[in-house]
Symmetry: C2
Subunit: 137 residues, 2 copies
DNA sequence: TTCAATGCAAATTTTTTGCAAAGTC
DNA sequence: GACTTTGCAAAAAATTTGCATTGAA
């Protein structure tokens, strides 16, 4: 693997352990990929890229691993784009900007949101999730 | 139609005109539905409900009309839920809260976000869109 | 009669599910 | 040997596309 990072690798192992899963090579590869690639990849991008070096990988395993990581709050599932989920290994609070033209997704630090003068911000959506008052009990 | 509102009907006609579309009965029905139902309906819910009183309606027309309304900023497409888009006729700034248990989506006024004490907020996602610095020119 | 809008069906895309084979403890 | 994990294939769900028919100006 290009530019292999022991740090990221160690973190990938930790996330998989946090999910209560066994560290299989496939799961490590998926976790490593999401941590190493800050491009907010889709399932298909993750699958295709890993598959290039690990041909036996199945999409089912990618889906399963990502779901487990999301449910354990180890990574974030982005739904900013209609149709597909994207994934983000950065879990500290930050916002996302999606360009309507080039479709790229930028990470925006929260304190910088009010002064996004270089961007032309057309739409702001704040999504909260958790438990509503009825379901809290 | 139950509780038919001339006000909403007039607004539906206006939105369709704003899109540069002709006010066909199907388009009016779709726009009316989204304005009248503040439940953040999916395409399928919109289609099924209107179809009950207007059997000839096709899902293609629902998709086409919704896309036009979204592109003209007449309604908002919510992507808070993985897998499907939901639609919101309220375009003034407000946030959405999705309960992880009952899956309902609540409208939250922006000034109320900091004191959402009745809710158990686990996750906050801020999505911005528009044009990035590269594409602005 | 011309052009826009509709509706159906098929195709695409994304995600989920069932299950047998392979791997791990 | 029991149990987990994987990968394939099929199914399900959401959306888009092609095209013939309908309808309005």
């Amino acid at each position: 693997m290009y530019n292999y990072s022991p740090d990221i690798s160690a973190k990938a192992l930790r996330l998989i352990a946090d999910c209560g899963l066994r560290p299989s090579p496939q799961r490590i590869a998926v976790a490593y990929y999401v941590l190493a690639n800050r491009t907010h990849p889709t399932v298909d991008e993750i699958y295709t890229d890993i598959k290039a070096t690990c041909p036996s990988l199945s999409k089912t395993t990618v889906y399963n691993t990502l779901r487990a990581l999301v449910e354990s709050n180890c990574i974030i599932e982005l739904t900013i784009e209609p149709g597909t989920s994207r994934f983000d290994g950065t879990t500290s609070p930050h916002a996302h900007f999606r360009c309507n033209s080039c479709k790229r997704i930028f990470d925006i630090d929260m304190p910088h949101i009010p002064k996004l003068s270089d961007f032309d911000v057309g739409n702001v959506q704040v999504y909260l999730s958790g438990l509503c008052p009825c379901c809290k009990n």
